[in-house]
C-alpha cells in the first residue's frame, strides 16, 4: 500500500477543514499538509448554509451579550470557557474572511452589514445575501490555493484512523477514482468531516453528511459528546427538506398556521408585532419554534399536504425588492420546488433535521483525548452549542475552532512526533482487509438502501422533536437489529473505479454507529433540555443532567454512556427567557 506522508493530515475540506489548513500553513509554511475529502472542497455542505455568521462588530453590541445569548440558547449545556473565547475570536475571524475577499453584504457606508437572527439579543449576524456559507466556503477554498504547503487529495474517502498507544498517527483513505487504498502517515490529524443529518430521513443536509469522521473517531476510542441533541430547523420545504434560512424571519417573515394566525405567541414568544423584535416570536430559538410546530400539529392547526403537515411562511409583506436583495436563493428554491413565489404566495414549511449539536469530544483547543487527534466544525463538540445551537453560530464555530485546531496541530507537530511505522502498516492492512471483506461477501438477504431506510425511519420515529422512553427504546432496538444485519451485507458493485456502492456502504457503516450514539444518549438523558424534549421527563433536571453525555464505542453492542461536568464560569443556569420579557431590540 502506498504511503503518503505529511505533517498534518486534515480529513474533510469544508469550511472547517479549509480554515484548519490555512491556519497550519500560516503557523508554519514548512509544515506539509494533506487535505483529504471525499468530495471536491466546493461540494462540501458548508455551501448550503444560508443565513449568516454571528460576530460582535457594531457599537451597540458587546461580547457579553453574545456570550449570554449563546449560553442561554444552549440551555446552559454549553461550556462557558469555550463560549467566552468563541465570542471573542469570532469577530476577528470574520474580519479575516473579509480580508480574504468574502463578499459580505454592506451598509451604504461600506461597513459590513448585520441582520437579526433567532435567539440573538442584538443584530450581529454577518451575511452575504442568503448564500453566506457558499461564499465563505468558496472564499476559503480559493484562499487556500495561495498556500503551496496545502496539498489536496480531492475525492479520497477516509476509512479508518491509525492509532497506537493513545496517539493518532494517520489514516487510511481510498482514492475514489482508482479504488486503491493509501496510508496517510502524519504527526497530527484533524477531523473536519461535518455532521450526520443523513441518519434522519428528512433533513436539510446533503448526501455527504453521513457522520463518517464522527464514527471514525468513535471507533478509535474518542467519546461522542451530547449526541442526543439534534437540531430541527423550523423552516424546511416539505418533500425535499430544503432549508429556508432563518434570515427569512430575521428580515421580517411570519410563521402562520392554517388560520393565518401567528401561533408562536401561544408558546411564550409573544406578543406579536408587525416588525421583528429580537428574541421574540419568529426570532425565538430554533428548538422552541420546532416544538411549537409539534404542538400546533397536535392541536390540528397545521395544514395537511401529501408531504406531511406544514405551516406557512409569509414573506409577502417584505416586497419584491427586499426579497431579491436579501433572499434571492429562497425565492428561487420556493418557486422551483414548491411552486410558491414568496413575493406573492405563502410558502409551506415544516421542521426538518438540520444540525448535530453533539460530536467528537474536544477541549477548547479542538484537541480530542487521543493525542495528535483534533476535530473542528459540526463533527466536533467543544461545546459552544450545548442543547441547542443558535442560528448563525455554526459558521463562526468552524472558523474559530478550525483555526484553533490548525494552530494546535502545528504546535503539536513541532514538539517532535515519530510515527511507529511498522505498527501503522499493520493497522493499515487491517483497514484494507475490512474493506475487502465487503467485496468478498456473496449476496446477502439485506440490501444497504433498505437497511438505511429502516435506520432513518427509526431515528425519525424515536428521536424526533419530542421523545419518550418507549419510542427511543424502539429506535434503539431497531438500530441493534440493523447493525447486526449490516454485518452481512455484500457489495453489489465489485468494481474499483468510482464505486459509489462501496462508499455508500462505508457511509452506512458510519451512520449506524452515529445513530446508535444518538439514540442511546437520548434514552439515558431523562430530562428535557433544549432540543432534547422528553414527554416522560418534561422538566430540565440540572441536579442530575447538567452534564455532557459521553458515548463510548462498544464494538459488541450499545455504547457505554458516562457524563462530564459542564464548565460554568459566570452564568448560572436559569430559565430561558424569550418574547416580551427578553427585552430584545426592534429589528425593523
Amino acid at each position: 500500500m502506498q504511503v503518503i506522508e505529511a505533517d498534518v493530515i486534515i480529513v474533510g475540506a469544508g469550511g472547517a477543514g479549509l480554515r484548519t489548513a490555512i491556519a497550519v500553513a500560516e503557523a508554519d509554511p514548512k509544515l506539509s499538509i494533506a487535505l483529504l475529502s471525499k468530495v471536491y472542497p466546493m461540494r462540501s455542505h458548508t455551501c448550503a448554509a444560508e443565513g449568516g455568521a454571528a460576530g460582535v462588530i457594531k457599537s451597540n453590541d458587546n461580547l457579553e451579550y453574545h456570550f449570554h445569548d449563546t449560553v442561554s440558547g444552549g440551555d446552559w449545556l454549553t461550556d462557558q470557557d469555550a463560549v467566552d473565547l468563541f465570542v471573542n475570536e469570532i469577530p476577528k475571524e470574520l474580519l479575516r474572511m473579509e480580508h480574504w475577499g468574502c463578499p459580505w453584504s454592506r451598509e451604504t457606508s461600506g461597513n459590513v452589514a448585520v441582520r437579526p437572527f433567532g435567539g440573538m439579543k442584538i443584530m450581529r449576524t454577518w451575511f452575504a445575501a442568503d448564500k453566506t456559507g457558499f461564499h465563505m466556503l468558496h472564499t476559503l477554498f480559493q484562499t487556500s490555493i495561495k498556500y503551496p504547503s496545502v496539498k489536496r487529495f480531492d475525492e479520497y474517502y477516509t476509512v479508518d484512523l491509525l492509532t497506537d498507544d493513545g496517539a493518532c498517527y494517520g489514516c487510511t483513505a481510498i482514492e475514489m477514482r482508482t479504488g486503491q487504498m493509501r496510508q496517510f502517515r502524519g504527526k497530527a490529524i484533524v477531523i473536519c468531516s461535518g455532521g450526520a443529518g443523513k441518519i434522519f430521513p428528512f433533513t436539510t443536509n446533503g448526501a455527504v453528511k453521513t457522520g463518517d469522521g464522527m464514527a471514525m473517531a468513535y471507533r478509535a476510542g474518542v467519546p461522542l459528546k451530547d449526541m442526543e441533541f439534534v437540531q430541527y430547523h423550523p423552516t424546511g420545504l416539505p418533500g425535499s427538506g430544503i432549508l429556508l434560512t432563518e434570515a427569512c424571519r430575521g428580515e421580517g417573515g411570519y410563521l402562520v398556521n392554517k388560520d393565518g394566525y401567528r401561533y408562536l405567541q401561544d408558546y411564550g414568544l409573544g406578543p406579536e408585532t408587525p416588525t421583528p423584535v429580537l428574541k421574540a416570536m419568529e426570532l425565538g430559538p430554533r428548538d422552541q419554534l420546532s416544538q411549537a410546530f409539534w404542538h400546533e400539529q397536535k392541536k390540528g392547526r397545521t395544514i395537511p399536504t401529501k408531504w406531511g403537515d406544514v405551516v406557512h411562511l409569509d414573506l409577502r409583506h417584505l416586497g419584491e425588492k427586499k426579497i431579491d436583495e436579501r433572499l434571492p436563493l429562497i425565492r428561487e428554491l420556493s418557486a422551483k420546488y414548491v411552486d410558491s413565489d414568496p413575493v406573492t404566495t405563502l410558502v409551506p414549511v415544516r421542521p426538518v433535521v438540520h444540525y448535530m449539536m453533539g460530536g467528537i469530544h474536544t477541549d477548547i483547543h479542538a484537541a480530542t483525548p487521543l493525542k495528535g487527534l483534533y476535530a473542528a466544525g459540526e463533527c466536533a463538540c467543544v461545546s459552544i452549542n450545548g442543547a441547542n445551537r443558535l442560528g448563525s453560530n455554526s459558521l463562526g464555530e468552524l472558523l474559530v475552532f478550525g483555526a484553533r485546531a490548525g494552530r494546535g496541530a502545528a504546535e503539536y507537530v513541532k514538539k517532535g512526533v515519530r510515527a511507529p511505522g511498522e505498527r501503522l502498516d499493520a493497522l493499515a492492512a487491517d483497514s484494507e482487509a475490512r474493506v475487502k471483506a465487503w467485496f468478498q461477501r456473496t449476496q446477502a438477504s439485506d440490501r444497504v438502501p433498505a437497511l438505511k431506510k429502516r435506520l432513518t425511519t427509526a431515528m425519525e420515529d424515536g428521536c424526533g422533536i419530542y421523545r419518550d422512553e418507549a419510542t427511543i427504546k424502539a429506535a434503539c432496538d431497531i438500530i441493534v437489529d440493523v447493525r447486526e444485519r449490516f454485518k452481512n451485507v455484500a457489495l453489489e458493485d465489485k468494481s474499483s473505479v468510482y464505486n459509489t456502492d462501496l462508499y455508500q456502504t462505508l457511509e452506512m457503516d458510519a451512520m449506524i454507529e452515529v445513530a446508535q450514539a444518538v439514540a442511546v444518549s437520548a434514552l439515558q438523558r431523562r430530562e428535557s433540555r433544549g432540543a432534547h424534549q422528553r414527554l416522560d421527563h418534561v422538566k430540565r433536571d440540572d441536579e442530575a443532567f447538567l452534564k455532557h453525555s459521553m458515548a463510548h464505542y462498544n464494538p459488541n453492542g450499545e455504547p457505554r454512556i458516562d457524563y462530564l461536568d459542564v464548565v460554568i464560569t459566570k452564568s448560572k443556569p436559569a430559565e430561558r427567557v424569550y418574547g416580551a420579557r427578553a427585552g430584545g431590540q426592534s429589528a425593523a
Binding site: 477514482r177 482508482t178 479504488g179 486503491q180 468494481s495 474499483s496 473505479v497
Partner: protein, 131 residues
C-alpha cells in the same frame, strides 16, 4: 495496477457546429465577416475606379447593378442585419454599465443602439438623396 481508463468522446473539428442550434446561430454571425470582407473589397475597388476616371467608375457601377452584383448585395444586406442584431444583443454583456447600485438594464442599452442605428441610417439616406 491502475484500473482507470477515462473515455474521451470524439468531437468533429470540422462539423461540431451542426450539433446544436446555438452553435449554428453563432456560425451564422461569424460567416457575416466573409460578406463584410467581400463588400469592403468591392467598395475599395470602387474608390480605385473612381480615381481612374469616369469610364472606370461607370464600369464599376455597371458591375454593381448587374444581376450577380444585386444578388450579392442582397445576401450581404441580410448578413449585415444578422451582424447588427447579434452585435447589439451582445453589447449589454460586453459593456456592463453600472449606475450606483443598479446595473443599467440590457434592454435600455440595446434600445439606445437601435436608436443610433436609425439615426445613422436616416442620415446616410438623406445624404445620398434617397429619402
Amino acid at each position: 495496477m491502475n484500473p482507470r481508463k477515462p473515455y474521451v468522446r470524439p468531437i468533429s473539428k470540422t462539423s461540431w457546429f451542426m450539433t446544436q442550434g446555438r452553435y449554428k446561430v453563432y456560425m451564422l454571425h461569424e460567416i457575416s465577416s466573409l460578406f463584410v470582407a467581400i463588400y469592403t473589397a468591392i467598395l475599395i475597388i470602387g474608390l480605385v475606379r473612381l480615381g481612374e476616371g469616369e469610364a472606370a467608375w461607370q464600369g464599376w457601377l455597371d458591375a454593381v447593378t448587374s444581376p450577380i452584383g444585386v444578388i450579392f448585395h442582397l445576401i450581404a444586406f441580410v448578413f449585415a442585419l444578422i451582424h447588427t442584431t447579434s452585435w447589439f444583443k451582445a453589447v449589454p454583456q460586453a459593456m456592463r454599465i453600472q449606475r450606483g447600485e443598479e446595473i443599467v438594464p440590457g434592454k435600455l442599452i440595446v434600445g439606445a443602439h437601435y436608436g443610433v442605428l436609425a439615426a445613422v441610417s436616416l442620415f446616410v439616406l438623406i445624404l445620398a438623396g434617397v429619402a
